[in-house]
């Protein structure tokens, strides 16, 4: 990987204005409270041009109206409402919004229902009802969301609302947004703070707000509670260490074990796994998007949501979940999770399952047409190639670079009778427009034909198999590799079973003279 690649990565997350980011967040959230408009996809197309013209006129009208309106005193006000907003008495109120609930210590990640706090104090409700039924103005403007409020009326009606406050020129106003109908009311005064203050008082009075009791155990004690040896620190297939074990007790008979793992490879304090055991249903409920699979006689369901993935299963009336919970930059997928469960059940992981699968031809055994990348960025003998099979099985197209400097197309001819592959055509850094047309059209057969017609002719061995030649044990970076050598003139191509071209050793005079030294090696840089 070259320095250009490294610099490109620096563009992954660009500088961003925090205010703009938050404004974007609030506006996006406000949009979610607006009714979704359905697009007409058929008739509308026919009317596209006239509607566009009418829209342009209408937008022009709106802009003019807003311009003069703004200069004549604030945003456009539709009307003032005096009829009761709440036509039935309020029975109770639910208030919920992650951040604001957190402020009062009521947020409980293990029990989402606690995200909503109920207010049923009659005195407060009456005053609140009066506030809501006070004169109000219908307005349209940006606002900052602060609190979700759901009114439950005595007539059974549920009214979800969204409250925010604004302070402009010393005047505090509450904006109430109604879910579904997209209408926002504006009240004088600050209802949000009033609701919060009421909540604070409630929290002080009700110490027993949470139903979940958290008990911290030592690692040994926690693992004794667990029916299986989940992991021995340092021996996990992912090289993970148990960092902390927490047991959440849910009543008398239910508990959840939460094990936090640290990734050991980079020393970060990154939590990447949580494992829960509970006899409650919530941790193992199947939901949309899950794949079901059998492994070692157990049925697992797997769900992948973005950077997280979880595996659920049931055993002996317990429901288990193993999840990657913080996997940014860490690709923890199904196989890794399954490996962990194997280890939990004491099943040795079969690393040899790939053996015996290359029983056919040597070309398949040595995966001759596997994409490769040899040599480091500054290496003049570095090269890379990807392969494309055409309809004609005799030819394979190779596409890659040489020394990261020129683009190279090679055409390989395959002789399965003699187990031999030869390079017969080459185009290096020429015919760029023509070759790109084939690439754009993804016409690999066309590109093969083009190479046959216009490519530089050559006849160079790439791979040849003989039963008389044995694999060699070669140490590279402290690891022993069994590699199959193919002599190509003075040079040697080494192939690895199932992996393809692994190393090229250059003994030819031209390379030695050019680069100095006895011989040069270009070694595979990616597996």
């Amino acid at each position: 990987m070259g320095p250009l690649d490294d610099r490109l990565k620096e563009l992954r997350v660009l500088e961003r204005d925090d205010d703009a980011k938050m404004r974007s967040f609030h506006q996006a959230k406000a949009k979610l409270y607006e009714p979704e408009t359905k697009k007409d996809t058929s008739f509308g197309k026919l009317l596209g041009v006239p509607i566009a013209l009418l829209s342009a006129v209408f937008i022009g009208f709106l802009l003019s109206y807003q311009w003069f309106g703004d200069n004549l005193g604030g945003p456009a006000i539709d009307e003032e409402r005096t009829e009761p907003f709440v036509t039935s008495s309020i029975d109770h109120i639910y208030i919920g919004f992650g951040d604001s609930v957190d402020e009062f210590g009521l947020h409980d990640v293990n029990n989402p229902e606690l995200d909503y706090v109920m207010i049923d104090d009659p005195e407060f409700l009456e005053r609140f009802e009066n506030d809501l039924n006070a004169p109000r103005t219908v307005v349209k403007r940006d606002f900052i969301p602060m609190l979700e409020v759901e009114l439950v009326l005595e007539n059974g009606e549920e009214v979800p609302l969204f409250f925010s406050i604004s302070r402009e020129s010393g005047v505090v106003e509450t904006h109430v947004y109604q879910f579904d109908n997209g209408m926002m009311f504006q009240y004088k005064g600050d209802m949000v703070t009033e609701l919060r203050e009421f909540l604070m008082a409630e929290v002080d009075e009700k110490e027993e707000k949470s139903v979940t009791e958290t008990i911290y155990y030592s690692l040994e004690a926690a693992l004794q509670e667990f029916p299986y040896d989940i992991v021995t620190p340092g021996e996990s297939p992912l090289g993970l260490l148990v960092d902390r074990v927490t047991i959440y007790a849910h009543g008398k008979d239910a508990f959840a074990l939460h094990i936090l793992y640290k990734e050991t490879s980079n020393g970060d304090d990154k939590l990447i796994f949580g494992a829960n055991i509970s006899d409650e249903n919530h941790s193992a409920l199947p939901y949309d998007g899950q794949d079901l699979l059998d492994r070692n006689g157990r049925q697992f369901s797997f769900h992948n949501f973005g950077e997280t993935a979880d595996l659920n299963w049931e055993d002996n009336n317990f429901k288990y979940m193993l999840a990657s919970v913080l996997a940014e930059g860490v690709d923890v997928g199904l196989e890794e999770l399954l490996h962990l469960t194997d280890e939990m059940y004491g099943i040795s992981i079969d690393n040899n399952h790939e053996e015996e699968q290359f029983k056919d031809s040597p070309l398949e055994k040595y995966a001759v047409f596997t994409e490769y990348d040899l040599g480091s960025y500054n290496d003049r003998i570095a090269e890379a190639s990807a392969f494309y099979m055409g309809d004609d099985e005799n030819y394979v197209l190779g596409f890659g670079h040489q020394a990261h400097a020129v683009i190279r197309y090679l055409l390989y001819e395959v002789d399965e009778e003699t187990n031999e592959v030869r390079v017969i055509r080459r185009i290096v850094d020429s015919y760029q427009d023509q070759t790109e047309e084939f690439v754009e059209a993804e016409d690999w057969d066309g590109l093969i034909d083009f190479l046959l017609e216009y490519g530089q002719e050559l006849d160079q061995l790439y791979f040849k198999y003989s039963g008389d030649v044995a694999e060699e044990e070669i140490e590279l970076d402290g690891t022993i590799h069994n590699l199959y050598p193919v002599e190509v003139g003075e040079n040697i191509h080494y192939f690895k079973e199932g992996k393809g071209l692994w190393m090229k050793v250059y003994n030819d005079e031209m390379t030695i003279v050019r680069d100095g030294g006895e011989h040069k090696e270009a070694i595979r840089i990616t597996d």
Partner: protein, 170 residues
């Protein structure tokens, strides 16, 4: 609605950066980021879990960006494929980083043709895999590989030209 907050604060910087690289205008990038997250949240049930969630997010962001570009074009009847060959109205004056050499890289990416720009952003900047990039762009994996190599070659040539003009190695 809490999951929306988490979604936004986890991914929005990355999506914003992706769109800014495509468009080159901060304000529009914010608007399109906002639109992307509204669309994603409203259609979150459609995510089938077959691809990485972040890949799906980028696909939605790309669609929003393409829609925006389409609306900027006076010719409404252009086919979608043709639109993709047209570069966005990239503002190279937009400063995206304090690092001058990276800023220069940003400018040069803005000068590339759209298909090169897209494949570099996805493969080299967003570090999507070949398969993920092929899903987002609707190309074959082979085309992604080849276009990446070509785009990088073109970018290197442009950067080299810049070095020669300025007489210093960046």
């Amino acid at each position: 609605m809490e999951d929306f907050d988490e979604l936004y604060f986890t991914y929005s910087d990355r999506i914003y950066s992706y769109i800014l690289l495509m468009i080159g205008d901060r304000e529009i990038a914010e608007d399109l980021t906002q639109e992307t997250f509204v669309k994603v949240y409203r259609s979150r049930d459609q995510f089938d879990g077959k691809s990485q969630f972040s890949t799906w997010l980028i696909s939605v962001a790309r669609n929003c960006t393409i829609d925006y570009l389409r609306k900027q074009r006076p010719v409404y009847l252009w086919p979608f494929e043709k639109l993709l060959k047209v570069s966005a109205p990239f503002s190279v004056e937009t400063k995206v980083t304090q690092n001058e050499s990276v800023q220069e890289l940003y400018k040069q990416i803005g000068n590339l043709k759209q298909s090169y720009k897209e494949v570099i952003i996805l493969r080299k900047i967003q570090e999507l895999s070949i398969k993920e990039t092929s899903e987002v762009l609707g190309w074959s994996e082979g085309k992604v590989k080849m276009m990446t190599l070509r785009a990088m070659e073109k970018l290197r040539v442009e950067m080299k030209g810049e070095v020669e003009v300025n007489g210093s190695i960046r």
